[in-house]
């Protein structure tokens, strides 16, 4: 399956994390999601969120104003909200 792309540009943290969480909930373990962001806060927050939920950060591409983070959904089940 092609990676799902999520546009989180111009959103400030923690909104990109929330959008990502809501998208990941609809995905299956092993699916890949690419999140495009502009708030450099995501460099910290998305990997931290992935660590607590058991998802794998595959790549972080940091351009001058845009950051794309690629994540592979982990095996754990997603509880509720």
């Amino acid at each position: 399956m092609d990676p799902v792309t999520l546009d989180a540009r111009n959103l400030l943290c923690p909104m990109p994390v929330i959008r990502m969480q809501d998208t990941v909930r609809k995905l299956q373990p092993g699916d890949v999601i690419k999140v495009v962001c502009t708030d450099p806060g995501v460099l910290h927050d998305i990997p931290a969120w992935c660590r607590v939920h058991g998802h794998e950060v595959c790549d972080i591409d940091e351009q001058e104003y845009e950051i794309t983070i690629t994540v592979r959904v982990g095996p754990g089940s997603q509880t509720g909200a």
């Binding site: 111009n10 400030l12 943290c13 923690p14 909104m15 994390v17 929330i18 969480q21 502009t38 708030d39 450099p40 806060g41 460099l43 910290h44 927050d45 931290a48 969120w49 660590r51 607590v52 939920h53 104003y65 754990g76 509880t79 509720g80 909200a81």
Partner: protein
Amino acid sequence: MSKQPKAVALISGGLDSLLAARVVMEQGVHVEGINFFTGFCVEGHTHALRKKDRQRPKRNNALWSAEQLGIKLHIVDIIEEYKDVVINPKHGYGSNLNPCLDCKIFMVNKAREWIDANGFDFIITGEVVGQRPMSQRKDTLPVVARDSGAGDRLVRPLCARNLPPTLPEIEGWLDRGRLYGFNGRSRKPQMALARQFGFEDYAQPAGGCCFLTDKQYAVKLADLWNTRGKRDYDFDDIMLLKVGRHLRPGTNFKLIVGREEGENRFLEGYRKRFINIIPTSHTGPLALIDGDPDADDIELAARLTARFSQGRDAGRVTVAVKQLDGMTQTLDVIPMPSDEIPEDWYV
């Protein structure tokens, strides 16, 4: 109950909620964290927008707490629903525009809905009797339990021994003897417990957990309500209150001026929604006009924008004014000298 009991802990990112969750985990309960994003949370926002913050990017303390505890953290967007709490708090405001008691009731109620939907057994908060003047008094803690509908499924492990036994204690899921009886404003017992658990480098917010406790921010929000003639806001409004200099020369409009590159870039995202000004003859900030200005107001806004540009000492500065219909007008203005800007224009 033969299965492992499950609890959700409200994680704010502060020390008390971290400790409360840990105390319950010590007793073999499965704990997951929940963090509510109201739009006013100090966490996250404007984070790394400004250069000085970019150099030392801040962590999200709620996520940091979850990592320390080794638990999942569910971050829930409550921006829309929370509006009613801020605009119409039944129990009033604290020292600024912080509706702490209504806020607590609202969040615990949301957590109650969450445990019902996810098959969890109870809710944990880090509240301590007497810790905060409004929401954590001996007489208000029961109000939170009652009005949220959580009742005896709400456990405050740090002060449980000062309160009637809760369902998890009655059912034997939690040993009351291993919960705590903290009370009052002292932070010493929490700091000692943190040492015992080996927590270091935890966040210690000075005021509260959100911008509504911040005097400056509350003044800006009150200004927004007063000048619009109604107590309402949308997400963009509350984001913009955190960014840039805000100058209000008249009740019909205010100017939001980016203070540096990061803020200018953020404000760029709002150019379609607001009349905006950008100097073209000199390097300078992007400024948004919020309100309903006439031609003279726009000229004044242009002079103010020029004042914050590199051309502040030049005779004239050229600016481009982009209207809402997309038309761009060029103005050649004299930058307003700083000593002519009345103090009370700064919101």
